[in-house]
C-alpha cells in the first residue's frame, strides 16, 4: 500500500494549462475523491497519478517513491476506467489474469488469485464469459476484479459508475466502499457526482479550472466551504445565495434588490456597507408566520418530492430559493409563505473575493 503525494503538479497541453500547481497529500489506505465540474482537470490529475500523462512541472510520489518519470506499469497502480476497458476478445478470467500473465507468474498462482477475487466479487459463474455477454454492473465488477487481482499500492477510479443506471450506481457505490474497507488499499476516485463524493470519500479534493479549491472531509466541505464555488458545488439541492450588504452598525444584512433584512449572526465583525453573499442551505430555512422578524416572503413556484424529501422551489424578492424538508408539502404553485433562515447556520462570503468570511 502507498500514500500518494502530489507536489506543485502542473500540466499544459500546448498553450492550455489544465492543471495548475496542484499539491495534494493522500494518506496510506485513504479513500480520496477528486471532484469538480467538467474541465476542472480531475481526470487529467488521475491520469497523471496513473502515469498516462506526463507532468509539465512538479512531482508525483507513490509510497514515498518518486514516480514522476516512471511509466504506468512501473508505478504499481491499478485503474478502473469509465468505459471499463475490458479486453473484448478475452474471457472474464483472461481479463482478470492478464496482468499476472504478463508478469509470467506461475499458472497455479494465477488461477488461485483469479478464483479468490472472483469469489470476493461474486464473479465465479461468469469466469468463462466474454465481456459482451455481461451486464453493465457485471462488467464494472470485472473491471474492479482485474484491478484487485494485481494487489496494487493504489487503486485509481475514473468515474466508474457513470455508465450505470441510478439503482445499480447506489449498489456498486456500496460495493466499492465495502471493498475499500476490506482491502484497505489507498484509492483515488474521480467523479463529478457530489453525492458519490460525499458518500464515499474520506477526503474530498474539489478542483476548479485545474486548481485545488478546497480539501477536506465531506462534512467539512459541506459545513465550512472555503468559497462560493465549493458551497455551490457540494450539497444537493444546491445552496441558496443571496447578494446582500452589511447594514448600519453591522447588526443586519440587507438583501439586494429587496426589502429583506436579516439579523447579523453572532460572531461576525463586518464593516457597514460591505458587499457580501449570504449562503443558506435549503434545509436551514423554516416556514414561519407571515411578517415574522427576519423572514422572507416567497411564492411557491414548484414542489419536487422524492417521497422521503420535499424541495419547494420558490420566488423571493431576492431571487429563486430552494427549501427542503423531510415533511411533505401541501403547497401549490402561487401559494405565499414566509421563510426564516437559521441564523447560526448562515454562511457569509465576501462578494469580491468569493471567499467565506470566518466567524471570529
Amino acid at each position: 500500500m502507498g500514500a500518494v503525494s502530489l507536489k506543485g503538479v502542473s500540466k499544459s497541453f500546448g498553450a492550455v494549462e489544465v492543471i495548475r500547481n496542484v499539491s495534494v497529500e493522500i494518506a496510506e489506505g485513504e479513500f480520496c475523491v477528486l471532484i469538480g465540474p467538467s474541465g476542472s482537470g480531475k481526470s487529467t490529475l488521475l491520469r497523471i497519478i496513473a502515469g498516462l500523462e506526463d507532468v509539465t512541472d512538479g512531482e508525483v510520489r507513490i509510497g514515498g517513491r518518486d514516480v514522476t518519470e516512471l511509466a504506468a506499469k512501473e508505478r504499481d497502480i491499478a485503474m478502473v476506467f469509465q468505459s471499463y476497458a475490458l479486453y473484448p476478445q478475452m474471457t472474464v478470467r483472461e481479463n482478470m489474469s492478464f496482468a499476472l500473465r504478463l508478469k509470467h507468474r506461475p499458472k497455479d498462482e494465477i488461477r488461485r488469485k483469479t478464483d479468490e477475487v472472483a469469489q470476493m466479487l461474486g464473479l465465479e459463474a461468469l469466469l468463462d464469459r466474454l465481456p459482451k455477454e455481461l451486464s453493465g454492473g457485471q462488467r464494472q465488477r470485472v473491471a474492479m476484479g482485474r484491478a484487485i487481482v494485481r494487489d496494487p499500492s493504489v487503486f485509481l477510479f475514473d468515474e466508474p459508475l457513470s455508465n450505470l443506471d441510478a439503482k445499480l450506481r447506489t449498489q456498486v457505490r456500496g460495493e466499492i466502499r465495502d471493498l475499500h474497507r476490506r482491502i484497505g488499499t489507498t484509492s483515488v476516485y474521480v467523479t463529478h457526482d457530489q453525492v458519490e463524493a460525499m458518500t464515499m470519500g474520506q477526503k474530498i479534493v474539489v478542483l476548479r479550472d485545474g486548481r485545488v479549491e478546497q480539501v477536506g472531509t465531506p462534512l467539512e466541505l459541506y459545513d465550512r466551504p472555503d468559497s462560493v464555488f465549493v458551497a455551490g458545488f457540494i450539497g444537493s439541492p444546491a445552496i441558496n445565495m443571496l447578494p446582500a450588504m452589511v447594514g448600519p452598525e453591522a447588526k443586519t444584512l440587507h438583501a439586494a434588490r429587496s426589502e429583506i433584512v436579516l439579523p447579523m449572526p453572532d460572531g461576525y465583525r463586518l464593516e457597514s456597507g460591505r458587499e457580501v453573499l449570504i449562503g443558506i442551505r435549503p434545509e436551514h430555512l423554516e416556514t414561519v408566520a407571515a411578517g415574522a422578524a427576519g423572514s422572507i416572503v416567497c411564492a411557491v413556484d414548484a414542489v419536487e418530492s422524492t417521497g422521503s424529501d420535499t424541495t419547494v422551489i420558490c420566488d423571493s424578492p431576492a431571487g429563486k430559493m430552494l427549501v427542503s424538508s423531510k415533511q411533505r408539502s401541501q403547497a401549490r404553485t402561487g401559494d405565499l409563505f414566509a421563510l426564516r433562515p437559521d441564523g447560526e447556520k448562515l454562511l457569509i462570503f465576501d462578494k469580491a473575493s468569493q471567499a467565506r468570511i470566518v466567524r471570529a
Binding site: A50, L52, A72, K73, M79, S83, Q89, L102, R146
Partner: protein, 279 residues
C-alpha cells in the same frame, strides 16, 4: 399484390440473361476442360463432350503446371504473410502512435497507389538488378524478387489503419497499466480486435500477389521460377497444346484463390461489413 405472369416471366428472363453473361464464360471453361473433344476457336460447348480428366493430367504433368503452381504458392503464401505482418505493424504505428512526420509517411504510402505498375516496372527492374555490396549478388531471378516488391501494399496498410483507429484508447491504456509493453499491446490487445480486417487483408493480398503478371515477368527470367500467370501467358501462344488443356490449366490456376476465399470467407464478410457500419 402478386406480380402478373408477364412481369414474373420478364424478371426470370432478365435473371437468365445476367446469369448467362456472368456465369456463361466460367461454365464454358469448366465444360471445355472436362471435354475430350478438342474444340475449335469460337466453339462453345454447353455440356462436356466425351467427358474426361485427361486435360487436367496433361496440364499438370506434361505441361508441368504443378511446378508453376508451386512457384505461385511459395510467392503468394510468403508474400501474403510478410505483407500482412508489415501492414499490421505500419498500421499500428500510423493509427496508434503519434510521431513527427506521420502525415508524410501516410502520403508516401498513399503515393505508391498512384503509380501504375507499368510505370514502375523499369525502375523496379533496375532496383532488383542492383547488386548488394560485399556479397556481390542481386535478388534478380529469385523468389525474393517476386516477394519483396509486394510486401508493402498501401491498400492493406490503410484498411488496417482504419480498423486500428477504431480500437478504444482506454484498452491500450489499461494494457499499459497492466504492464504490457508496446509489442504486447500490439499483439495481445490491438491485433486480436482487428481480426475481421486481417481476414480481408489476407484474402485481398493473396489474390493480388497470385494475380501478379508483370512483376514476375520483369524480375525473373529463369523459366523454372515462373509463376502460373506468366506460364499461362506463354501457353496461350503455344500452338502445340489444345484449348482444352489450356483452359484446364486456367482452372487449376484459379483453384488456390477460390480455396483461400472459401477458407476465410467468414472473416472476409465480417471485415467488409464491419468496415461498412463503423462510424
Amino acid at each position: 399484390m402478386q406480380p402478373s405472369f408477364a412481369v414474373r416471366a420478364a424478371r426470370i428472363l432478365l435473371y437468365l440473361i445476367i446469369l448467362a453473361i456472368f456465369v456463361g464464360p466460367f461454365w464454358g471453361i469448366i465444360v471445355t476442360a472436362l471435354s475430350g473433344l478438342v474444340i475449335k476457336p469460337g466453339q462453345l460447348l454447353l455440356l462436356p463432350v466425351q467427358p474426361t480428366l485427361a486435360n487436367f493430367k496433361t496440364a499438370l504433368i506434361d505441361m508441368q503446371v504443378w511446378r508453376y503452381l508451386l512457384n505461385s504458392l511459395v510467392v503468394a503464401i510468403l508474400g501474403t504473410a510478410l505483407q500482412v505482418a508489415v501492414s499490421a505493424l505500419a498500421a499500428y504505428a500510423l493509427a496508434r502512435r503519434r510521431f513527427r512526420g506521420a502525415a508524410i509517411v501516410s502520403l508516401l504510402v498513399l503515393s505508391t497507389m498512384m503509380l501504375p505498375e507499368e510505370v514502375i516496372s523499369i525502375p523496379l527492374y533496375l532496383v532488383v538488378q542492383a547488386r548488394f555490396p560485399v556479397i556481390d549478388a542481386s535478388i534478380y531471378n529469385t523468389y525474393a524478387a517476386m516477394i519483396l516488391p509486394v510486401v508493402g501494399w498501401a491498400f492493406s496498410i490503410f484498411m488496417l489503419t482504419e480498423f486500428m483507429r477504431a480500437v478504444p484508447k482506454e484498452l491500450e491504456e489499461a494494457a499499459r497499466i497492466d504492464g504490457a509493453n508496446e509489442w504486447q499491446i500490439f499483439a495481445n490487445v490491438v491485433l486480436p480486435l482487428v481480426r475481421p480486417a486481417l481476414g480481408t487483408v489476407v484474402i485481398f493480398g493473396f489474390i493480388m500477389i497470385w494475380d501478379q503478371y508483370l512483376l514476375p515477368l520483369v524480375v525473373v527470367s529463369d523459366k523454372q521460377l515462373f509463376t502460373i500467370p506468366v506460364m499461362l501467358g506463354m501457353l496461350r501462344v503455344d500452338e502445340t497444346i489444345t484449348p482444352n488443356v489450356f483452359v484446364a490449366a486456367t482452372l487449376l490456376a484459379m483453384a488456390p484463390t477460390i480455396i483461400c476465399y472459401l477458407l476465410l470467407q467468414k472473416q472476409f464478410n465480417r471485415g467488409i461489413m464491419a468496415g461498412a457500419v463503423k462510424g
